[in-house]
């Protein structure tokens, strides 16, 4: 039984569909006058952020608060962490404060895994992005967004006019997903490859060869260096952010050349199938991996992804903390008791 969400690879298809379905219900709460549920009253969720990521932190914070959990934000900046306190001592402090779940963002790959397996804490650990390893809740919200668009029609197919639809219970079988950009350093890409293939999608990674990890040949996906060849066969195209610090490290000659070969502009978008969507985990480098025209088009789901992030994180927190043991990876109680 899993008490943590460390890697998207740990999720079975049924786990993943359960999380997405639960998130669908959570999303409905956002439409109500009172956007709050009493479910995690008395539970404490700690956001332990060793890396700046306001977007991810407030998403988890909103999720925990909508479920009535107490939220403690622990940021490495200005705390004892930056004064050399170890992850272990920080963890022991949080444990002493009674954290039921620790949402951790860390610059080192594997830090959440270490936190979960070292015995330092008893609560659940949720990976909110570790180094260049994984970012499972991002992959889940991406899959959620894709499912609504690509399996949201009543017949299970893509919706029309870019409107998301009800896709509960469905997976992404046969959908063709293209992920473009800095795969080497992307935790989003790694988590998406695991999760999307688990959900039955066919994933293609597109990047200059310098930004594809050695060893990625073993991943359950295709790898291409030619964006134009892949676009017409894509149901969703996910553009990854290219970090500024990569630009002077010889991964590609110039920004202009990168944008020309691997950026998504209106011409390229026009080559995608009519129902296909453009995704971006944000923050976007407009003019680099994506043009403003594409970013602001109706086919781009970047803003929707942010909203979906809260629903997904509510679902994950609920499934990990909403019972006496986590539901993800464990048998689900389907009995109807205490009428």
């Amino acid at each position: 039984m899993k008490r943590h969400l460390i890697s998207a690879a740990d999720l079975t298809r049924d786990d993943a569909v359960l999380i997405l379905d639960t998130a669908e219900e959570m999303a409905r709460v956002a439409d109500r006058p009172i956007k709050k549920l009493p479910t995690l009253r008395g539970r404490t969720v700690v956001n332990l952020f060793f890396e700046d990521s306001t977007r991810t932190r407030i998403s988890f914070e909103a999720a925990a608060k909508r479920l009535s959990a107490d939220v403690i934000n622990f940021s490495a900046k200005g705390s004892s962490v930056s004064k050399g306190e170890s992850l272990k001592d920080t963890a022991l402090t949080l444990e002493a404060m009674g954290a039921d779940a620790v949402v951790i963002r860390h610059h080192d790959s594997g830090a959440p895994h270490r936190l979960a397996t070292s015995g330092w804490i008893g609560g659940s650990v949720v990976n909110a992005g570790d180094g260049t390893h994984e970012h499972p809740t991002q992959a889940l919200l991406d899959a959620f967004t894709m499912r609504r668009h690509l399996a949201g029609a009543p017949d299970g197919g893509p919706t029309r006019h870019g409107e998301p639809g009800d896709s509960s219970g469905r997976d992404l079988a046969g959908r063709r997903i293209t992920v473009v950009g800095d795969i080497l350093h992307s935790r989003v890409a790694r988590s998406n490859v695991h999760l999307l293939t688990t959900l039955g999608a066919e994933v293609t990674l597109v990047a200059p060869p310098t930004l594809v990890p050695v060893g990625a040949g073993n991943w359950p996906c295709e790898i291409s260096y030619d964006l134009d060849a892949v676009l017409p066969k894509s149901d969703a195209v996910m553009m990854l952010r290219v970090q500024r610090e990569r630009m002077n490290a010889a991964f590609f000659p110039t920004e202009r050349e990168y944008a020309r070969r691997y950026g998504l502009d209106a011409d390229r978008m026009a080559r995608m199938p009519g129902h296909a969507i453009v995704m971006h985990p944000g923050p976007m480098n407009r003019g680099m991996e994506i043009t403003a025209e594409v970013a602001d088009s109706e086919r781009c789901t970047a803003v929707e992804q942010v909203a979906n992030g809260v629903s997904i994180r509510m679902a994950v927190l609920y499934l990990l903390l909403g019972g006496n043991e986590p539901a993800v990876g464990a048998p689900i109680a389907r009995t109807e008791e205490s009428k």
Partner: protein, 433 residues
């Protein structure tokens, strides 16, 4: 130290280098007799039925940490660990604080070794001042000191400047020295955390490509050939490195190489646990590399086993992978790992183990009184091993001050029952004397 200081010792029925059982009589510091049915009325008798008698093991690559990091190891605790592992001589690496780059520091380490009494400590001198790779250290002064340094290494760092490496190789010819290279191209290993390959791609840990090691080895064997010097390659870890050393040897060049016990057994699959006990430099590689290293050691391409014993305090490993120190302790498990990976697989017999763990390393380090045959008149540096023993590694019982072993909980064969340093028992019945 023990009663055997004054009395002679008769080892009865030991299989010398794995051959048939013999008796071995030790008188004073030397082997007085080897043969069947010896008797010595006053001698302490060691019944060695079924045990293997080896020449005392010699380690070319040990981090004793003193001076500077006595919290992880001292010369005393490190040599006790060495004796417990069957070693009678260790080479103390230079990356201490201060760095062993002057005659003063190497003499200090050498003297501490003599005082410890558990095994010979031969200091290794730094190649460059402060291990910084820019300016040659006073190699001659270290050689001329009481420590008599013959092996020079910036281990932990690579001598990556080709000109500095060339000059060092040339310079130590004057006193039959050797440069022991830690082969790691620095630019290719910036931010490197583990072997670059399938596992690193999945784990998102910075990749440490095999080519970063192999390219430096290739350059250095060519350099050594060009200037007619000998070069020693530390902790060879990849199949490609084995190939390059094999090629260099086929050319008749004066190249020697070592492999660590952990690279003979462990692979990067273990890193999936993110447990920093598996974090080591060079990193654990793949199954194919392990196979190539075993073959290379078996066919003599790799000359010897060296532990790269690298003690670290608990807090440096009880943390996240990225923050953890690199290295593993190895002195007390080396022989067991070699028995497990090389003897029990049929790749080496015990005579060859003696060669790879005693004769050859002593020859590379030019240690006259170590790594000698087990025969009459030779110094009585001896190790007695019970190969039938099976035990689970428990670091709590280690003599080393540090516990960072990757074998905790693992069953390994063999146990050192006795170690003799110049006739004096340093280990008796598996316990330090």
């Amino acid at each position: 130290m023990t009663v055997s200081d004054d009395r002679n010792t008769l080892i009865r029925g030991a299989r010398v280098l794995g051959a048939e059982a013999q008796d071995v009589l030790i008188e004073g510091g030397t082997i007085a007799a080897v043969g069947p049915g010896l008797s010595a009325p006053d001698a302490v008798v060691v019944e060695a039925d079924g045990q293997i008698l080896l020449p005392g093991l010699v380690d070319l690559h040990t981090h004793l940490r003193e001076p500077g990091r006595e919290d992880s190891e001292t010369v005393l605790t490190g040599t006790r660990a060495a004796a417990a592992g069957g070693f009678t001589a260790v080479h103390a690496m230079a990356n201490t604080f201060p760095v062993a780059d002057t005659a003063g520091v190497v003499e200090q380490v050498w003297r501490l070794g003599r005082e410890s009494g558990y095994c010979d400590v031969q200091p290794v001198g730094a190649v460059t001042v402060g291990l910084e790779g820019r300016k040659l250290a006073e190699l001659g002064a270290m050689h001329d000191s009481a420590a008599g340094v013959r092996i020079f290494s910036d281990d932990g760092k690579c001598v990556d400047d080709a000109v500095i490496m060339r000059r060092a190789l040339e310079y130590v010819k004057a006193f039959d020295g050797v440069i022991a290279q830690h082969a790691q191209e620095p630019r290719l290993t910036e931010g490197a955390q583990m072997n670059e390959g399938v596992v690193s791609a999945e784990l998102g840990l910075g990749g440490w490509p095999a080519v970063a090691e192999e390219s430096v080895i290739a350059r250095d064997v060519l350099l050594a050939a060009h200037v007619g010097s000998r070069v020693h390659i530390c902790h060879v870890s990849t199949a490609g490195s084995v190939e390059i050393v094999r090629w260099a040897k086929s050319k008749g060049w004066n190249v020697t190489a070592e492999v660590t016990p952990h690279h003979l057994l462990l692979t990067d699959e273990l890193v999936r646990s993110y447990d920093p006990v598996y974090k080591v430099n060079p990193p654990l590689r793949t199954e194919a590399d392990v196979t190539a290293l075993r073959e290379g050691l078996a066919d003599g391409t790799i000359d010897c086993v060296a532990t790269d014993h690298a003690p670290h305090p608990h807090e440096d490993k009880d943390c996240e992978w990225g923050a953890a120190a690199m290295g593993m302790v190895g002195l007390e498990t080396a022989l067991s790992v070699v028995q497990h990976t090389m003897v029990e697989t049929g790749l080496l017999d015990w005579a060859q183990v003696a060669d790879r763990m005693s004769f050859r390393p002593a020859a590379i380090g030019r240690l006259g009184h170590q790594g000698r045959p087990v025969s009459t008149g030779e110094p009585a540096n001896l190790t007695l091993v019970d190969p039938a023993y099976r035990g689970v590694v428990n670091p709590v019982g280690f003599a080393s001050r540090s516990r960072n072993t990757p074998y905790e909980g693992r069953e390994l064969p063999g146990r050192v029952t006795h170690t003799f340093l110049r006739g004096r028992a340093t280990v008796v019945d598996g316990k330090l004397a």
